[in-house]
């Protein structure tokens, strides 16, 4: 136990401001975000992540925004296990033929008003997988999309910016 406490205190708080080159941009968006979150989400934005066919690269980066360095909860952003509680669906793609029905059901299980954000190049337009018998392409082929975050995969900073912009 003493070792755990020592490691915790030695490490301290590692959550850091975003890199300097984008910090002003994020601060600007962050101020609007806070206002928007207060007005529209009562101070907390709840996200349900749905993998509709990704290669799992985007999932790793979405995990990363929860790590102690990015710590997205300080922006009032947190992830939920059920679409029933979600304000936003963060969907990675491409949408596969085999996931189409599950994605529609998840969308329908999310109470309106809801925001859908397509994540990653594949989520935006099918990426390298394109459209085929097995891949339907971007998320907007199946459910309405409100915002997109490009990147293969998008970095954690790009994800945070994308989420902030989506609720502006």
């Amino acid at each position: 136990m003493i070792r755990i406490l020592k490691q915790i205190f030695r490490t301290g708080i590692v959550t850091e401001p975003l890199p300097t080159e984008i910090i002003s941009e994020v601060e600007e968006v962050g101020a609007k975000l806070e206002e928007a979150v207060r007005k529209r989400f009562r101070g907390s934005l709840t996200i349900r992540q749905v993998d509709a066919g990704s290669c799992n690269g985007c999932e790793l980066e979405i995990h990363a925004i929860n790590n102690p360095i990015y710590n997205c909860e300080r922006f009032g952003v947190h992830f939920t296990a059920s679409p029933r509680f979600a304000d936003m669906l963060l969907v990675t793609g491409p949408v596969t033929h085999n996931m189409e029905i599950a994605l529609r059901r998840t969308y329908n299980a999310t109470p309106p008003p809801k925001i859908v954000v397509a994540v990653g190049d594949c989520g935006c337009n099918g990426g390298i997988f394109g459209e085929s018998y097995a891949s339907l392409g971007g998320i907007d082929k199946v459910i309405p999309v409100n915002a997109v975050i490009h990147g293969c995969p998008p970095t954690p900073v790009a994800l945070l910016q994308g989420i902030l912009k989506a609720i502006e």
């Binding site: 070792r3 755990i4 490691q7 915790i8 490490t11 590692v14 992540q49 749905v50 993998d51 509709a52 066919g53 990704s54 290669c55 799992n56 690269g57 985007c58 999932e59 790793l60 980066e61 979405i62 995990h63 990363a64 929860n66 790590n67 102690p68 360095i69 992830f79 296990a81 059920s82 679409p83 491409p94 596969t96 033929h97 085999n98 996931m99 599950a102 998840t106 990426g127 390298i128 997988f129 394109g130 459209e131 085929s132 018998y133 097995a134 891949s135 339907l136 293969c152 995969p153 970095t155």
Partner: protein, 527 residues
């Protein structure tokens, strides 16, 4: 001669023909008549104690032949591919499932996607192909038009049922509670005890193997890097190596070493994430935050030095796409020093926490004899007493310089969650050590070499030890020198069976913990 070829020649004699179109020449390919396909498997299992590494089929109608079915066996340092030719109408071959358990899913996949019947297979249900696909849709056949969307038909998947007093079912997925990939698990349980787990995968089937056939050899490396995002480096290396064996391409020494550095950095990043996540699933969140912090440091260094956090597209046919300078070397060395220092402190905490130990020990046991029967690979194999690692048994450069690199591979025999965690811990230490060695001894020279596409009707094979385990690629050049077939075998393709067998007897709340300790790729399996 080798053990595997000796065994098969002594049993089948003149029925065997050795194939000269298969590269590298160290991986022998022999053709046997289709009626001897299962007999060959039996001989290799009984006489040579071989493990089944992969089984797949190819459509060779562009060459004016019918179909071909392949089984790849492994014994120690040797790989042997046994091939049988099938006619183009009503193709079928004798099933290997009753001899080799992993053939169970390989053959269901062959039947579902290529439309070739494994005669005598105990389970006729489709795999990856869902029940709502039209009956005659076999996407890997050349006659299939992959550009059109599939219509849906009515159909129902038949689940394995358990009956009896107090038996109930828990369906989970495909959309899971966490930020993970989709798949369906169906538990039959009595009280808290799981009596059976049935997996159903295929939700993220993106048609990757078919997509390869429409790409150039160069673009294929990009797609290979996206088969499973967490293993992008290892998949790209395996694809490039299989391709390079078929051409005169000599990958420069420096490029091989750079690839190995990328591969080991990928291993460290994923193992750090996994160790933290396993502990988190045992309610030890402290470790998740500490480990994910270390992981983030590795990813940031990757981004700074190589331009991508996961090093996607940094391995290309003929070499590597990015070099490292002396500043970069220094940066990695100091990064490794600091990670190593913190990591060792955390390992002591892991080892000294009784509450954690209580959860991870004796949970999710995959017994060594079962692991062998299931032919599991990688971390899962090494935690269950199987000494398998391509870096040692099928070494690709620079790992072939054993006396210099002196790679040590941990093998444990308990086969529980703790063993799989401890294998990862040891591998992080070992990877840190060999990256240091490689950086200090990195050869000079070019990092790319010219690359000419392979000639028609050649095939290339490569096996690479990714962080999960052995990844196999088998490539075949078509009549115009294009990609005719690209077979991808991610370690998850076999290890999912290992998870299914490790679960019964555990309690339902331990499933996430067991699942995380295997941490399989859904995308790498579903393709």
């Amino acid at each position: 001669m080798s053990v595997l070829t000796d065994a098969i020649t002594s049993a089948l004699g003149t029925d065997i023909q050795f194939d000269k179109r298969q590269y590298p020449s160290s991986v022998i390919c022999c053709t046997v008549p289709v009626e001897k396909f299962a007999e060959a498997a039996w001989v290799l299992k009984k006489k040579a104690f071989a493990l089944l590494a992969a089984e797949w089929a190819s459509d060779e109608t562009p060459f004016g032949r019918g179909f071909c079915v392949f089984a790849c066996y492994r014994w120690g340092k040797e790989y042997l591919i046994v091939r049988s030719e099938l006619p183009s109408d009503n193709p079928q071959f004798p099933s290997l499932t009753r001899r080799y358990i992993p053939a169970y899913r390989f053959e269901r996949q062959i039947q579902s996607l290529m439309g070739i019947t494994p005669a005598g297979h105990p389970d006729a249900r489709p795999w990856i192909k869902f029940e709502d696909w039209p009956a005659g849709a076999w996407p890997l056949r050349k006659s299939f038009d992959a550009s059109k969307p599939l219509p849906r038909v009515a159909g129902e998947y038949e689940w394995i049922k358990a009956e009896g007093e107090g038996v109930y079912e828990i369906p989970v997925g495909p959309v899971h509670a966490g930020i993970i990939e989709p798949g369906h698990f169906r538990f039959q349980a009595v009280g808290e005890d799981i009596i059976n787990l049935e997996e159903r995968l295929g939700y993220v089937h993106k048609g990757i193997e078919k997509k390869f056939e429409a790409l150039s050899w160069q673009d294929g490396a990009r797609l290979a890097g996206r088969v499973s995002g967490d293993t992008t480096v290892a998949h790209a290396i395996a694809y490039c190596m299989a391709l390079e064996t078929m051409t005169d391409c000599n990958v420069p020494e420096r490029a091989n070493w750079l690839r190995a550095i990328f591969l080991e950095r990928e291993r460290i990043a994923n193992h750090l994430g996994d160790i933290g996540a396993i502990c988190n699933d045992a309610a030890f969140a402290f470790m998740l935050y500490q480990m994910s912090r270390l992981r983030e440091i590795v990813l940031r260094t990757n981004h700074k030095l190589f331009g991508h956090r996961f090093m996607m597209d940094k391995v290309i046919p003929g070499g590597a796409a990015v070099d490292i300078d002396s500043e970069g070397k220094k940066e990695i060395l100091s990064e490794l020093d600091s990670i190593s220092k913190d990591f060792e402190k955390l390992v002591i905490i892991y080892d000294e926490s009784p509450s954690l130990e209580d959860r991870v020990r004796d949970t999710g046991i995959l017994r060594p004899e079962l692991a062998r029967e299931l032919c599991v690979v990688g971390i899962a194999a090494r935690a269950s007493g199987l000494n398998l690692d391509c870096r040692i048994f099928n070494p690709f450069p620079p790992y072939d310089q054993y006396d210099l690199i002196e790679l040590g591979v941990p093998v444990l025999i308990t086969g529980d969650v703790h063993a799989r965690t401890w294998v990862r811990i040891q591998e992080v230490r070992e990877s840190i050590r060999i990256i240091r060695y490689m950086l200090e001894n990195l050869p000079d020279g070019e990092i790319t070499s010219s690359f000419t596409p392979p000639s028609p009707d050649m095939s290339g094979f490569a096996a690479v030890e990714g962080w999960r385990g052995e990844i196999i690629y088998w490539l075949q050049a078509g009549p115009k020198g294009e990609i005719n077939r690209c077979m991808v075998r991610d370690p998850s393709s076999v290890n999912w069976l290992g998870l299914e067998q490790a679960i019964p007897g555990n309690i339902v709340p331990d499933f996430p913990l067991c699942n995380k300790s295997f941490n399989q790729s859904y995308s790498g399996h579903d393709l």
